[in-house]
Each structure stands twice: as C-alpha cells, then as structure tokens.
Amino acid sequence: MAQQVFAYIIHKSGVADDTALEMITAAGKLNADASVTAVIAGSGAELDGVCKEVASSFSEVWKIDHETLAYINAEVIRPMLTRILPKQGIVLIPHEHFGMDLAPGLSVKLDAAYLPDAVDFEGIEDGKLKAVREEYGGQVSTHVLCDISQGAVITIRPGSFKADESKSAGGNIVDKTAEAVEGGLAGGVRRFLEIAEAEVGDVDITKSDVLVSVGRGIEEEENLEMVFDLAKAMGADVSCSRPIVDAKWLEKSRQVGTSGKTVKPKVYMALGISGSFQHLGGLKGAPFIVAVNKNVKAPIFQAADVGIVDDILDFVPELTDRINEIKG
C-alpha cells in the first residue's frame, strides 16, 4: 500500500488528545512502514505548542494556522482539508463529537470511501481493508470490507487502539495554511456562538469513591427509589447512563460517559446498563466494576470484574436488605 496516511489531531487547551498516539498504532496496522502525517488546525501559540508536542511522535506535521480556527468548526475546516489532502490518501479521525461532525462530509468532498467507528484493522488485500466494527450498541461485532483504493476517511473509536508512546519521530512541521485557505474561506454558513457549560448538579459524581449507576434496565421512574436505597445502604452516590437523563428521570450532571461526566470511583456498580463505548468512555482509573444485567451477553460483562445475571428489580432490593442487616 503506497497510500499516504494522515491523522487528524484533536486538541484542547494546548494539549493533543489521547487519540493522537492511538492513531499512530492504527496507521501501523494499515501499513507497518507507513509514515504518518499529523494534521493539526488551530491558531496562534496554542497551536504551535500542540504541533511541537505531536512532532515528537509523527514523522511529519501539517499545520493550519488561522484566526477562524481558534474554535474549530467542522464547516470551516472541511473545505480547507479538502484542498490540502491528496485525493487517494487515507485520513484517520477520532470518532467523537468533532470527528462525527467533520468526517462523513469530508469523505464525500474527497470522493473517498467512509469507514465509521473502526475498532480494529485486520489487513489489506487488493486495495480492500478488512476492519472490525460494532453494531447494536456493541452487542455484536462485524467484519467489513472497505475499498480504500480511491482513498478513505476512517473514524477510529477512541480507546480501541493502544497508544504508541515510542516518540522517536522528530518530525518536520510544514505550514499548510496558505494552501488551505487558497481561494477564500468557506462562506460562514455556520457560526460558532459560545460554549454553554454543563449545569452543576446537587452531587458531584466525579468526586465519588463508590457509584451505583443505573441504566435503562430500571424500566420505570418509580423504580429509581430502590437504586437510591441501595446507594444509601452502601454509602455511595447514584449516577446513570444516558437514557435515564434523556427521560429526565435524573439530572444531566449524573450521566457517566463521553457526553457526560468522567468518573474515577474505586467501585462502580452498573445496574441494567448494556455497556456502550460511550458510557464506558466516562469510566476512568480502573475501578472495580460490578455489573448486574439480565442478559448474559450484554457487553458490560466484558468490562466488568464481577457479573451477576439477574433482574435488577429483584436483585437490588435483596442486596439492599442484606447490607442493611449487616450494618444493623
């Protein structure tokens, strides 16, 4: 495979996202000899800092430095990338809220294949990449074959590829700004206004040592009471998965996951939670995970240390009673 490989680097407050090093590993699985070019957009000193940091891991860094990119808007950066990226290249982008905004449209503009949310690569044959994806919230996996011969945009699931910490590259930083903005900026059809910060709730689950976390398996709002009872008996706080917040049964500040809070408890009890990657993405610091789920095949059992296959509506009250008994 002689195709050039690019990795689009997400950064925040002058620091590259963890996915930067994960994409080096992903690129290596595409082609062991590939030299990977990092593409970094932003503005000013902050951007320079990120470029310098990333250059120690990538053989080349392309930077796009423009005042309109102080906060990156996918609608603005997409045409710039379309100008600078070669048509037949392979572009890796993290599959998170920004990547999801940018990537599908970029694949159309580059007339490249699109492979979303890849979790592994298993080799290339005749210009076709065999990759692994998940469907149905991780309940089943699939092999897909993606024809990358005419170029491809591939989003990579954060955390799926190991970070490559080798830092041997010492890469060149190439300023691509002039080429990226040649012919003018995109028409400002979508204008960034501001970031509305998450509301602060009554408990700060990011500080809790023990979390009893509840998911859609709880079925009814009234049933939440038994979860709070268990948490009280354990001396824990209650957190939840997204559907509980969507239903407005608990406040957003209790949601664990990529679009919620990142928590670092010592013990995490997942009750009726399937274990989607967006949920697990909010769980850091290797807690002791106990999962209770009536489906023995639920993906949460892959992440958990201890599993109990049961109906939480039966199990939770019994557990609570026992703990209260012990405590007297």
């Binding site: 808007n73 996918a74 609608e75 998170e96 809220h97 999801m100 905004d101 599908p104 449209g105 970029l106 694949s107 294949a113 699109y114 492979l115 979303p116 949310d117 994806r133 469907e135 149905y136 919230g137 089943v140 996996s141 699939t142 092999h143 897909v144 074959l145 993606c146 024809d147 059809v189 979508r190 204008r191 960034f192 206004l193 970031i195 509305a196 998450a198 023990v210 859609r216 001396g235 997204r242 559907p243 917040v245 239903a247 500040s253 679009s259 809070k261 010592k266 399937s274 002791f288 106990v290 095949k297 059992f301 892959q302 240390d305 201890v306 109990i308 039966d314 557990l319 703990i323 012990i326």
Partner: protein, 263 residues
C-alpha cells in the same frame, strides 16, 4: 418551514437481545421486534414542535422496502404530515453513501428548508446526515440537542460535546442536522393514532422516478460491505457469580467490603 425527516426501521434493542445467527451471515431475525430508530423519533418530535410554532409541514422519508413503510406510518401517526417510501431493488446493499445519494435525489424533488436525521442508527455509523449535507452543499451540524428558529433564514442549534457541555451555533437555512436523544420528550403514539393513518396511501418512489442510475447505489456502488457478524472472543470478561441469590449476595458483599464499596 418545510421539514424533511429521515427515518429508519431497526430492530428495537430495548425489546430484543441481538444475537448472531448460526453461520454468522446475519443477526437472528426470527421474533425480532422492530421500531423506529430511537434517534429518529426525537427528530420527528422536534420537527413537530417547530411546525406547531412557526407553521409549515413535515415529510417523513425512508429508504427501504415494503416492511419499512410501517415506520413512516408510525411517524405520521405521531404528527408528520406526509410520508414517502424510497424503494427499489437497485437500492439493496447500499452503504451509507448509497443511502445518502438516494435521499439526495428525493430532496431535490421537493423544496425543503430543513432536513433532520438521527445522530446514528443501529449500526452506529452516524454517517448519512453529514454525507447528505455535503452532497447537497448545505451546512451541517451533528449531535444537535437544542434547536431554536430565529427567522426563516437561520436557526440556532446547540451541539452536544464532551462533558455535558453544549456548543452553540447559528446556522443558515436550508441545512441538515443530526439530532441527539434528549433534545425533547417524544410524544406517545397510541393505537388510536396508528389506526387513523392505517389506510393512508404512502407514495413509493423508485430509482427511475428519482433519476438514479442503478450502478451508483446498492451493492455495486458500495465501497463498504459487511462480511459477517460475530461475537468477539470473550477474553477476560467478568467473573460471573453463580449460585442461589443468597449465595451470590454473600459473595458480592464480601467483594464489595474488600474493595471499599460498602462504607
């Protein structure tokens, strides 16, 4: 405002445990309960709320076959004004880009100010909305969890980003948005509502009617193909506690005590 909402019929993961069939060619389809993709329901609800505020009409569209018609009907029972089924053997085996191309052709046959899709569907791709926008050269915003109409030329949208924060944008119409769950509370559709729309004629558009060349969509146009379904090697999964509930609770309580889970 003329709003088009793209919807997909999918196996309902809240009602089914999804399993791989014996030879890994598909998921086990017997006895599957299907419904509208969770995210699309939020999109239709949002469209209804916009229409009820500023006027206009809502069209619901799906690319699929006869069976998929039921989701169009359901969303009409919910409150959408029109439904369209885009159906042709030539569409079978389409990848995301194929679906987006078919939808594009349908968009060009109408006159819409706003197109809504779900943030993602059953295969978790999250691709069709962004591709459709790029094909139309319309602005796009994904993961929208707040929408306010400013006037007939622009709207304000909040995008969900990390940490529960929201990115506010102003975006020009016409545009395409992918809708995230939690943006609203989709209304309940009762059996009565379904009955009301049961006999409505849902127009079907074929590839020829849409002016789509067969080889650009479907299997032959697809650069992404699914080879198989499988369940990954269990690896180091959880230790499943066995025994009577009492025994399980004994073990669990000991473990929790040891790990500091009971204070």
């Amino acid at each position: 405002m003329e709003i088009l909402v793209c919807v997909k019929r999918v196996p309902d993961t809240a009602e089914n445990e999804i399993e791989v069939n014996r030879d890994g060619t598909d998921i086990e389809r017997d006895d599957l309960v299907y419904s509208v993709n969770e995210w699309d329901n939020y999109a239709v609800e949002e469209a209804i709320q916009i229409r009820d505020k500023v006027g206009g009409s809502i069209t619901v569209v799906t690319v699929g076959n006869e069976e998929d018609e039921e989701v169009v009907r359901r969303e009409m029972a919910m409150g959408a004004d029109n439904g369209i089924l885009l159906s042709d053997d030539a569409f079978n085996g389409s990848d995301g880009k194929g679906i987006a191309s078919v939808l594009k052709a349908a968009v060009e046959k109408g006159k819409y100010d706003l197109i809504l899709t779900g943030a993602q569907a059953d295969d978790g791709a999250g691709q069709v909305g962004g591709m459709l926008a790029a094909m139309l050269d319309w602005p796009y915003a994904s993961l929208v969890n707040l929408l306010e109409v400013i006037d007939d030329k622009k709207i304000k949208v909040g995008r969900e980003i990390a940490g529960g924060n929201q990115e506010m944008n102003e975006i020009d119409l016409p545009c395409v948005l992918s809708i995230q769950t939690g943006i609203n509370e989709p209304r309940y559709v009762g059996i009565r509502g379904i009955r009301k729309v049961a006999s409505l004629e849902i127009p079907v558009h074929t590839a020829a009617e849409l002016g789509i060349a067969g080889n650009t969509v479907g299997e032959s146009g697809a650069r992404m193909k699914r080879l198989d379904y499988f369940v990954p090697d269990a690896g180091e999964g959880a230790e499943i506690l066995e025994g009577s509930t009492d025994e399980i609770i004994d073990k669990l309580v000991e473990l929790l005590k040891a790990k500091g889970g009971i204070k």
